[in-house]
Each structure stands twice: as C-alpha cells, then as structure tokens.
C-alpha cells in the first residue's frame, strides 16, 4: 500500500494550522461557515490524532516530537500549542452554549433549503442534529483526555483553574450529546402490506420466493433484535409497541430529536432538553454516522483514562445497547437469505423508496462494523470486498466517468440530498447534503483489509484503497491558503465546473479520522502465517546443524580467519530464533543468508577434497 498515514497526517496538520491561523487569530469555519459541527470538525483535525496516536500527542509538552512541532509551528511551540488548544476549546464551548450554559447542537449553516434561495428561519438553524451530537461526543472525549493528561505538566494556578473549568463544561456537553443521541433513536413500525413493508420485503427477497415466506423468515431472524428493542428503557424508542409479531420495523437514528421524545431522566447537568421535530424514521446516513461517533464512548482510552462518571456510564450503556441492536438489525437485513445478499444488490433501496449507492455504502458500514466485531470469516469478507469494489466502480472512482455522467458525479458533488422531514414545520423544507462518499468508502475498505486473514482479499483491498486514495488526492487543494486540505471535486471530475476555494472541514476531518485508523492498525504486529513459522523453524534447524558442524570441523588454528564469519552467522541465527514467532519472514531472510554463507564454506571444502 502506498499510503503513509504518519507523513500524511503531519502534512494535514501543517496545512490545517496554516489555514486556521491569521496571525495570532484563529479562523473558524470553512465552505459553509462556522457552526457547531464544522467547528468541532476543525478542532478534531488536531485533537483526534493527538488523542489517538502517541507520537502525535500534544498534552505533554515535554514529549512533543520534533516533526509535530515543525508541522504546528504556525500555532506555537510545545508549550504554546496546548495553551492555544485551551483557548480554542474554551471558545468552542462558549460559542455553542446559551447564556445559561446549556450546550447547543444546532445544524445552522449545514442546513440547506430544498429550494435554493429560500430563507432558513432562525428556529430551524437552531435545530439539533445527530451529526452534531456524534461530533461532540468525539471532541469532548478527546478534550477530557487531553485535559486530564495536560494538567500533570501544569503548575501555574491560573492555567489549572482554566483546565478545571473546561473539564466541567466539556462534561456537560458530553452528557448533553449522549442525551440527545438517546432522544434521536427511533423505531419505525409498519404493516407488511404498506409501501415501506413492501420495499423492505423486496430488498430481503433476493431469492425471489413467496412474499409470505420471506416475511416469516425475516421476522424469525429479527427475533433477537425485536427482543432487544423491547427491553429498551430510557430515551426514545422505548415506548414503541413491538408486540404484534405481524408488523415489520426498522430501527436506527432519526436526523435529530424525535418529535415527542420523552426527556431522559438523569442527575447529570445537561440543561433543558429541547423538543424535537423529526418523525420516527431512521435515516441510514445518520444511523451510520451515529454508530461511528459513539464507539469512542467505550473505547479502551475512555476506560483507561476513566473519562466517564457513573451517570455518564449509564447513558453510554444505554447507547451501547442501541448500537448493538441497530448493527444487528441492519446486518441481518443486509445479509439476509442464502443466495445473493441484499447488500450485493446495488444500489440499496430504502423503505421510503429512495435508492442510491450512498445507501449501499451506509449499510456496508454497519455490516463491516458487525464483521469487525465478530471477527468474521473470510468468505463473508471477500463478499463485502466485492461490494466495495463495485461501489468504487459505479461511483466513478476506479472507473473514468463517462461524459455527462451526472448522477455518479453528483454523489461526490454536490453530494446526496437527504430530506429532513419535519423541519418544514418551522420554515422551508430543509435538506442535508452529504458528500463524503469517497472517504467513507476508503475507510470501510481499510477496515475490511485489516481484519481479513486471506492474503488475496487483503491485496485486493489494498489495491482498491490505493486507487481511492489517488482519487481523493486529486480532490486536494493545491492553492495557497487552503493547500493540502479538501475538498475540490473539480480536481477529479471534468464535469464539475466550479473550482472550490474554501476548505470543507467536514471532508478533511473524515480524512484525518481515516488516517488515524490506518496508523493505529499499522502499529499492530503484522499478520503472520503459521506455515511460515513452521518453515522458518525447519530452516533454522538445518542452519544450526550446519553451523555446529562447521565449528567442530574447523581446526583451532585456522579458525582465526573464518571465525568472524562463523560468529556473524551464529549471531544472525540467534536473532532469527528470537524473532521467529513474531516475524517469521524476517527470520527466514536471516536464515537464508546464513545458509548461503555456510554452503560457501562447505563447497570450498568439497572442492578442496576433490582436487586431492
């Protein structure tokens, strides 16, 4: 694979630091202006690598590495950088709280009117959106961990006070985001004969059997999910009646707080819980996004640093239940049946009758997450790999776009329109535009590549990843201020006329997230094959045997000359034995070299005895 995550991340940091600073001032916002999501994304471009990768940490000024300091020179030195982060986090928390300190999660300038030109109302701008919750979860966890470690290096009283203040405000925001996520979860129940029911059955029925049978089989496979949903207690989705076994359903996250969602009862300080307007309809996009964001809540880092208190832990558990169930639901539907998977029937069709490659990708996300978690078999993974390849082709990433291939290009620019139902109660119909297809595809590709045991599948996926990355690099800005950041689709598609000039923190942050995941996985020791370990073991036995013989045969006097060769060989074989279990291929290389040299000695002796 050609990707070098560490190097790429440093370059992005340098570019992001340059684009964000205007002298000593910080420049918030990008293409769509500043809002609770975009600003979180901008901060996460720095905070995420810093909290996930030890060599990018910024919380211990004494340990900041040189190349990191070089990349972030626009922000300051090892002492100034964390202090600057404090100021920025403070600014973020202040901007996105009301005067009573209640955290705000408005989608604001990320909301677009369905009819261009229509004026979005201020009530609409303030509507909470699931993307803001999940970004905030990630940002606040990053912040809390950062503060916890940074505090150790600080003795000055004023800075310590600032850290404590930020800590309590970040906790409020984290709790509020979790509450928001719990109140945006939803279950949509429908009759099998309804249009939604028909759409779901059509998706599941790849074998084209009788509707009734698909229905019964599907209900049976979903029994566990249904039981899980019935047990939900706090948050939305807990009052839905799932007792009628004839009704079909789907579950996941709505775009925002569900209309009439009950308040979450908690001792935590979260402020007033806003009323929602979203209907009880799960959206694939928001579901996939929420699922990605909340995993940080139960990551090892969160546990080790003890970032959640007991009450927060309770909310996190409630979210985890929903996470498990939702994944299980989509995985069941997407891989239903014995023949072709519904997932393989591209494009995916949602129950409200929309179809798009984007939805296929969303479902893939959930299936992959499930497969990662269950350490699935290679057969399944290779089928997912096929889907990913197909998506890359039809989205014109690995295949050149034909002329006027507008629908494929529109997937990337301007992106897929998601209609935010219910928002029209407060003004014009709102939409959400998502353009992260390429990077999301790349993320899934790498994910699958890291868990597959099959070298063939891995090779296939790595080559796919290289191609997607090449595509993404074409969309990188090349001009001054925003150089090295994203997203300029015109760089990859001739049909996109207008060159972008402003950074999309939305897209850039997702690239950072991807590179971090990649860096994390490449740190793990390489997959090794048992066969290779055994082979290396046998080779080593032969080499050591030959070496012993060489040491015995050689007369003491003559050892003077050859002894250094023998010593080198012995050292090398010792090393081979030491690393054989972890890195059999490297061991084999060492053994090979020793065998060659030993054979040279033997051949020389044979030659000598022949001549006699």
């Amino acid at each position: 694979m050609k990707l070098q995550p560490r190097q790429q991340l440093l370059e992005i940091w340098e570019a992001a630091a340059r684009a964000s600073s205007q002298g000593k001032e910080w420049r918030w916002g990008g293409r769509q202006g500043s809002n609770s999501i975009s600003d979180a994304e901008q901060l996460l471009c720095f905070m995420y690598p810093a909290s996930e990768l030890p060599e990018f940490r910024l919380d211990t000024p004494d340990a900041t590495s040189d190349d990191v300091l070089e990349a972030l020179a626009a922000i300051g030195d090892s002492v100034e950088i964390p202090k600057r982060l404090l100021t920025l986090l403070d600014a973020y928390l202040t901007t996105y709280s009301d005067k009573d300190g209640r955290p705000l999660f408005g989608g604001d300038s990320y909301f677009l009117p369905n009819e261009p030109g229509e004026e979005i109302t201020s009530e609409q701008r303030a509507l909470d959106v699931v993307d803001s919750y999940s970004m905030s979860v990630t940002l606040m966890l990053g912040t809390l961990g950062f503060l916890k470690v940074f505090r150790r290096s600080v003795t000055r009283q004023d800075i310590r006070a600032k850290i404590s203040d930020l800590e309590s405000r970040a906790n409020v925001r984290l709790s509020a985001a979790m509450v928001g996520l719990l109140r945006s979860f939803t279950i949509n129940v429908f009759e099998p004969g309804s249009p939604q029911g028909q759409a779901l059955l059509r998706t599941a029925n790849q074998a084209k059997v009788h509707d009734r049978r698909v229905h019964d089989d599907l209900q049976k496979s979903l029994e566990e999910v249904r039981a899980g949903l019935r047990d939900l207690t706090i948050g939305s989705g807990s009052q839905v009646d799932l007792d009628n076994p004839n009704l079909l359903f789907e579950c996941g996250w709505a775009w925002g707080v569900v209309k009439n969602a009950p308040e979450v009862v908690t001792d935590l300080k979260v402020g007033e819980q806003p009323k929602g307007v979203a209907p009880e309809v799960p959206y694939l996009y928001f579901t996939a996004n929420a699922l990605v964001g909340v995993v940080d809540l139960w990551s090892e880092r969160t546990r080790v640093l003890g970032l959640l208190d007991d009450d927060q832990q309770q909310l996190a558990n409630a979210l985890q239940r929903r996470w498990d169930i939702t994944q299980n639901y989509w995985r069941t539907v997407a891989t239903f049946g014995k023949d072709r998977w519904p997932l393989e029937d591209i494009p995916w069709r949602t129950t409200d009758g929309k179809e798009s490659d984007y939805y296929s990708l969303g479902v893939t996300a959930m299936v992959v997450q499930y497969l990662v978690r269950t350490r699935a078999g290679d057969v399944d993974l290779s089928r997912v790999a096929g889907v990913l390849e197909e998506l890359a082709r039809s989205a014109r990433i690995t295949r050149r776009p034909v002329e006027n291939d507008l629908s494929a290009v529109a997937l990337h620019h301007p992106g897929v329109k998601v209609t935010l139902l219910g928002s029209e109660e407060l003004g014009p119909q709102l939409i959400w535009q998502v353009a992260d297809f390429a990077i999301t595809l790349l993320k899934r590709t790498i994910w699958v590549a890291t868990i597959t045991q099959s070298n063939r599948t891995r090779e296939r996926l790595h080559s796919l990843a290289d191609q997607i990355w090449a595509h993404i690099q074409q969309r990188q800005f090349t001009h001054q201020q925003v150089k090295g950041l994203w997203d300029n689709p015109a760089g990859a598609f001739d049909d996109v006329g207008d060159e972008q000039t402003q950074v999309s923190w939305y897209f850039t942050e997702r690239i950072v997230e991807f590179l971090v995941t990649l860096a994390l996985t490449s740190r793990e020791s390489p997959l090794r094959s048992q066969q290779l370990v055994e082979l290396a073991g046998e080779m080593l036995a032969e080499a050591e045997h030959l070496l012993n013989r060489e040491q015995v045969i050689r007369p003491v006097r003559a050892r003077l000359g050859a002894s250094s060769t023998i010593t080198t060989i012995a050292t090398r074989l010792n090393r081979a034995r030491k690393i054989m279990g972890e890195r059999p291929a490297s061991a084999a290389a060492l053994i090979n070299q020793s065998l060659l040299e030993l054979d040279q000695l033997a051949a020389a002796r044979e030659n000598a005895s022949e001549a006699m």
Partner: protein
C-alpha cells in the same frame, strides 16, 4: 535585562552560544553588552576576535574592578575593535555591542566580601541604564561567580534577570544540568540563601541545548540506516531522561544545532559565513536569532 549564562560542565558551548546570541540581538537593533565573569579563564575576547583582549585585557578588567583597584572596568566596542572585517562592518540599524573583558592573568576568586558585592550591584545597575541586554558569562559549575550574581540580583529586584543553563544533549550533561539548578548547593539553594524566592527564581531559569545533532537535517544523510535508527532510539531515550530531570521541552528555551564551523573554531557566525562563503549552516544562525528573540519575549518565559 540581565541574562546569566551558566553550565555545569566546561566546554558545553556556553561562551560561544551566548556571544552569538548577543551578536544577534545587536543586529536586531538592541544595545547589548557582554561581561566576562568566567574569572578562571577570561577568554571571550577571542570569540569576538578582539586581539587586545583575547586572553583578557591588560588595561584593567573585571577582576580589578571587583577588587576595587579601578573605578570602572574597561569597555571594548566590538564593532570597531574586532579584527574581523565581517564584524567590523556594523550594519545600519544595529545596536551597540560592548565587551567587558576580564583581566589577563586574572584567576578565580575564592570568596567575596560585602564591598565586592556592592561593586557588582553598582556595575549591573549602571549597565542596566545603558543597555537593553547585559549578558554575563559565568564560570562552569558551582562557582563563586554564580554566588556573586545571585547575591547581586537579589539586591536588584527591579531589574529583570534571567538565567540560561547550557548543556549538551547527552546523558551526563542532562543529569548535570538539572543538578546544577535543583541539586544540593545548586542555583536554587544558593539563590534562596541570598534572599531569592525559590518559585520566582525557577520561573526565570531556562535550559539551552548546544551542539545538537539534528537527525532530520540533510547533514546526516550519509549515516547508515542502522546508525540512523540507533540515533533515533537514543534521542528518544534522552528525551525521556530530560523530561524526568526537568530539562524537557517545557523548560527549554531553545537549542543550537551542531555546526561544523563552531566545531573547529570558537567564533561569531556572521551572515556572510552563511550566505556568502556558506561555511556555516543557516539553521545555526536561525537558532541564535530565535534565542536572541526569546530571551526577551515574555510569552516564551510564561511557562505552565
């Protein structure tokens, strides 16, 4: 402002680095002076290439002044008296650059009395009126000169004073630098004895790493991969060691890369050495320049 240059070990690069900082500061337009308080070996004249003072002055220098033999120590204007053409050409806009050398043949004092302290205080106070930056080069180790400086600054609370501790990037030097500051009879102990507040004093001390091998720089492209990875590993260990000994990045003011010119000769590096003859590295001058700015930049001293 008074800046004291100190190091635990001899030959760390204390004199060469502090002289170059002073030179850079003068080029940045400030009036600067350099005091040779390395009484045992008064040789800074050599670095400025002032031949009349290369082993100290014969006209009455720091020793004789402190002993009360002369009313004022000799001052040498480096811009006019240096033997180097590159230095003698004082650029427009540059500040004064004055050297106050020691006496030729002068030696380390064994102790100091109240009179001597008074003279020292008067000297510092007087120079503070005339110069923006007064760099004082102290002897290596726990010296009498350092005691004198601590005692004098304790009596001059209104004159800002800062301390630079120079050390090389090795295990021994890192541990020694910390010991010089925080160890028994170290700067802090002695400072407190003379009436300094420990916490206030520690805030005014920063470390400077000298002659550091910069692994990323092109100079080391010729290293074998194995050497490179060995050095990287050592560097990582030294960082950890430095952090444990309070000599990490938080307390570091700057570092100066190893330079081939300084390796072989103690001198000021002029812009011509970098841009004209190209014998010295631009990174070295950049580091001196940066230190010259940071010395007086309050945000760089704020700390955590």
């Amino acid at each position: 402002m008074l800046v004291f240059a100190i190091s635990d070990k001899g030959g760390t690069g204390r004199s060469v680095t502090s002289s170059n900082i002073v030179y850079r500061r003068a080029l940045q337009g400030q009036d600067v002076c350099y005091l040779d308080f390395d009484f045992g070996s008064p040789t800074v004249g050599a670095i400025f290439r002032v031949s009349t003072a290369s082993r100290g002055t014969t006209k009455g220098g720091m020793h004789r002044y402190l002993e009360g033999e002369i009313p004022e120590p000799t001052r040498i204007d480096v811009w006019t008296e240096s033997d180097r053409d590159a230095i003698r050409a004082k650029p427009a806009g540059a500040g004064q650059m004055v050297l106050l050398p020691g006496d030729e043949g002068g030696g380390e004092f064994a102790t100091f009395d109240g009179e001597m302290l008074k003279r020292c205080v008067r000297l510092f106070a007087g120079l503070h009126e005339q110069f923006d930056l007064i760099m004082v080069d102290l002897s290596a180790g726990r010296s009498f000169a350092a005691h004198l400086a601590l005692a004098a600054t304790a009596q001059l609370p209104r004159i800002p004073a800062r301390w630079l501790v120079f050390h090389r990037w090795t295990r021994q030097h890192i541990i020694a630098a910390n010991g010089l500051v925080r160890g028994d009879h170290g700067l802090l102990d002695v400072g407190v004895e003379h009436g300094h507040d420990r916490d206030a004093l520690i805030d005014r001390i920063r470390f400077v790493r000298t002659a550091v091998l910069e692994l990323g720089s092109g100079d080391f492209a010729h290293l074998r991969p194995a050497q490179r990875s060995w050095l990287n590993e050592i560097d990582r260990e030294l960082r950890e060691l430095a952090t444990r000994h309070g000599v990490g990045l938080t307390t570091m003011l700057g570092k100066v890369p190893l330079d081939p010119v300084l390796q072989w000769r103690e001198q000021l590096i002029s812009d011509d050495d970098v841009a004209g003859t190209e014998i010295a590295n631009p990174e070295t001058v950049f580091a001196f320049d940066d230190l010259a700015k940071k010395i007086v930049d309050d945000t760089a001293w704020e700390g955590l």
